[in-house]
Amino acid sequence: MSKDETLGEALRRQGISRRGFLKFCAATASLMALPPGMVPAIAAALEKARRPSVIWLSFQECTGCTESLTRSHSPTVEGLIFDTISLDYHHTLQAASGTAAEAAREAAMEENYGKYILVVDGSIPLGNPGFSTIAGISNKNMLLDTAKGAAAIISVGTCAAYGGIPHAKPNPTGAVPVSELIKDKPIINIPGCPPIPVVITGVLAHFLTFGTIPELDELGRPMAFYGNSIHDRCYRRPFYDKGLFAETFDDEGAKKGWCLYKLGCKGPTTYNACATTKWNEGTSFPIEAGHPCLGCSQPDFWDGGGFYKALSMPTEDITRTAVYAVGAGAAAGVALGALNRAKKKRIEKAHEKVTINDLEKGD
Amino acid sequence: MTRISNDAEFRKVLDGLEPVRQRQVAARFVENVLVLCSDERLASVLRIAASSESSQEELAEALKTARATTFACHTRCGSEGDWSEQAGYFVARAATAALTPIGQMPSGPAWQAALSSRMAQTSQSIVSGDDIAGQESNQQYQILSEFLDS
């Protein structure tokens, strides 16, 4: 596989038919909410696209994101697209290790300086550089170093995008997302724990097609995939609107497929494409499987007060605050009341008897 | 000659009189104390009350005047009372009673007028400090006797 091979050539070499390729282009277009007329343009652009160099850095992560991408049950077009990029560094997937691996990264950086795509999964610990190092290089330094020559950065997974689980309270490593450290490069966040594979390839396809980054929401996510909340696209939404809720995981409501709001579903505040693209080759998504949405593509989803706590419940212990507040209020109130009483006593004591001679003002 | 010497008899006779006669004798009772009231409207009121020829309209008008006089004369709650003015008030009340149709008051107009006239006299006695016990009632017995005989 040569580096100069175009994407089209690479796909054909792997036996992907033109029809199959166009189907992928159409799917990509629809996922990105582009008009159908764009499909030929996407196809033409992808045909000619040079396989870009991609450097994949993994920091404080669980490899779930990589697993999500690679653990497809059968080869898919998106999987193959992924194969056709020039993944020059990915320490989980690459054969090389240690010095050789780092050399490959440095070589790719040098060769494609200013053009390569930097993909990051995992958060970066700022607490102590030693918390997470690769080949003796701290995550922070490696990110800053590698980001310099990147054309764009894709933060894959909630950890890279928003800090994710390492960032959860009390955040012992001082974990931060990529966006906290890199301010001068375009960053595309593809959050999710893990993110949906087709979303990652879709974003890559967009970049390859247009050479630009897609339209992003205020959290840096591609609008095409994160424009709707789970709740807005959820097939159980009618039950929510009617007020029919499963109370427990095995009650009648659960069996009837009623809304999981009371069981802690974060669908209403979670933006992702799960409800439309679904998982496992479009088989289902968590809510369809009977489990509330965890809200994994949202910042701080781990600190949202509990996965099984309804969205309207407080995220913190209010009861204790309430008890303290009532106690403090009672103490303060009694103290203030005592002051008032003392004052009234004083005034009563100072009362001058009013007689009939005191009813008119003296001059 | 009719002789009346006590209130029981007096009242019985009064209550037994025709309405017009009651009014007429009541007017005489009031006249007897009229000097105690400085309001000049009462004199004409009494003329109408005393006359057997007065029309319904005249009587109604006179009653209105008598009432107005009453309200003009009474002492307001809490204000300093003047017993000579108060005497005038009772004269006006007596005149009002004289003209009030039977049935609108718990007791007959003549009896009411007689009582109020006596109150006027009592009020006057509070000013003067005189003991007038029985004077006015005796005079009223006299007036009634004369009225019956006339």
């Binding site: 303060a332 203030l336 008032n340 004052k343 009234k344 005034i347 009563e348 100072a350 009362h351 001058e352 008897k353 009013v354 007689t355 009939i356 001679n357 005191d358 009813l359 008119e360 003002k361 003296g362 | 006590n6 209130d7 029981a8 007096f10 009242r11 009432r67 107005a68 009453t70 309200f71 009474h74 002492t75 307001r76 709650c77 809490g78 204000s79 300093e80 009372g81 017993w83 108060q86 008030y89 009030t100 049935g103 609108q104 008051m105 718990p106 007791s107 009582l115 006596r118 109150m119 009592t122 009020s123 006695s125 509070i126 400090g129 016990a133 029985g134 009632s137």
Partner: protein, 426 residues
């Protein structure tokens, strides 16, 4: 020593208690109290809204007795109460409020506005903002013993007059009597027939009673003007007389505020419970009726209605008694549309009738009573308060309505059974 803003504000501070604080905390300016107040409904003047009449008192409460208000004051967020303001409020607190308490019955959050007006008057009076007429009445009450200047000789003359009419004597200063009768100056001056009516009834029912020559005045200008010190002094006179004559009970006559003063405020004014009972004349008559001691013959055929004096009914609790009594002597007793504890004030109570400045307003407000009467067209109105009675007569005259106003006690006396008819000599 004389009245001053300082003394007034101190009186406000002294008067504010938990109910006042709860009331002010609860007001949401819904305006319903205005619709319950005849001074507003007959003038449509929003400044006469009952709760607004308390604004200076409310500010003192807020600034003195709330944590937040103290800070608001420190930061200049709330103005202190000034003497000019109290001048402005004088007519609101005295001229356009009879303390009838109808607003207190209507307030959805339960504010007893009349309770607060009573307290506010303490401060107004101490600050020298009581109406001159009330000041005069109060001074007469203390110095002469009657706000209208009625002295003992006057009462004696009226008693003699009554005795002459009755043919039997009226007990004065009888030690050991069961009941000591109080009278209002109004009764002595304007309605002396009340004395003979009572005498006839008591003779008929064989009640042991007396009048004290030392304390016969029932009214209490102190509670109208809002000076508890003076009110207490006036109550003490009655307590002393009752003690001297060793009576078991004191009878409050047909006068609204007198009942409030002697029955409900009295012990609190003097700071100790009485060792005698206080009954309203209507309570006593009803008790006699129940015991079968009060018997009547014949019935009034005119259409009668009963006007509840506010301080006797709504504020005093004597509500059912007059109705039972009236039914005993009236064939056609009709209630006004809003009656009993919801009755509309005549417009003259709480010192308003003593206050010449308020005359026009008082007569204007009477239009409310006119509307009530127009709904049922009675032939006569029965009431149990001389002040109501005078004002009803005044108002009826003003509005050209022809309707006598009767005293309930006197009406009962007219229908007494047996030979105790007026003038009969035994």
């Amino acid at each position: 020593m004389s009245a001053s803003l300082d003394r007034g504000l101190n009186a406000f501070r002294e008067q504010i208690d938990a109910p006042v604080a709860a009331f002010f905390s609860s007001c949401v300016h819904c305006g319903l109290c205005a619709e319950a107040c005849l001074f507003y409904t007959e003038t449509n003047d929003p400044t006469l809204t009952p709760i607004h009449k308390l604004e200076p008192l409310r500010r003192v409460w807020k600034q003195e007795y709330t944590f937040w208000g103290r800070y608001a004051r420190a930061f200049g967020l709330t103005r202190p109460v000034t003497d000019e303001e109290l001048t402005d409020w004088e007519t609101l607190v005295y001229d356009s409020c009879t303390m009838c308490g109808r607003c207190s019955m209507v307030c959805p959050v339960g504010n007893d506005i009349a309770y607060m007006i009573r307290k506010m008057r303490e401060g107004m009076a101490a600050a020298g903002h009581a109406p001159p007429d009330l000041v005069g009445a109060t001074q007469r009450a203390v110095t002469i013993g009657s706000p209208m200047g009625v002295k003992l000789p006057a009462l004696q003359a009226q008693i003699r007059h009554a005795e002459e009419e009755l043919g039997f004597s009226i007990p004065v200063d009888v030690e050991g009597a069961d009941y000591m009768l109080l009278l209002s100056s109004m009764e002595i001056m304007n309605f002396p027939e009340f004395i003979s009516a009572i005498a006839r009834i008591f003779k008929h029912a064989n009640v042991s009673w007396t009048i004290s020559s030392e304390a016969f005045e029932a009214t209490n200008s102190g509670i109208q003007i809002g000076v508890s010190d003076i009110a207490a002094e006036l109550v003490e006179r009655i307590v002393a007389a009752a003690g001297k004559l060793k009576v078991k009970s004191v009878i409050s006559p047909e006068c609204g505020h007198a009942y409030m003063a002697i029955r409900w405020e009295g012990p609190n004014l003097i700071g100790r419970p009485y060792d005698f009972k206080v009954v309203h004349i209507l309570e006593l008559l009803e008790q006699l009726r129940e015991e079968g001691r009060l018997r009547t013959t014949g019935k009034e055929t005119q259409r009668l209605t009963y006007h509840d004096p506010c301080q006797i009914s709504r504020r005093g609790g004597v509500v059912q008694q007059p109705r039972n009594l009236l039914n005993m002597v009236a064939e056609d007793f009709v209630e006004m549309p809003e009656t009993g504890t919801m009755n509309w004030c005549c417009g003259a109570g709480g010192g308003v009738s003593s206050n010449e400045r308020a005359d026009d307003l008082r007569l204007k407000a009477f239009n409310r009573k006119k509307k009530q009467l127009d709904a049922i067209h009675p032939d006569a109105i029965v009431s149990a308060c001389s002040n109501c009675r005078i004002h009803l007569e005044d108002g009826l005259e003003e509005y050209g309505m022809d309707m006598p106003v009767l005293s309930l006690t006197e009406t009962i006396a007219e229908y007494l059974a047996g030979s105790e008819q007026a003038g009969s000599k035994e």
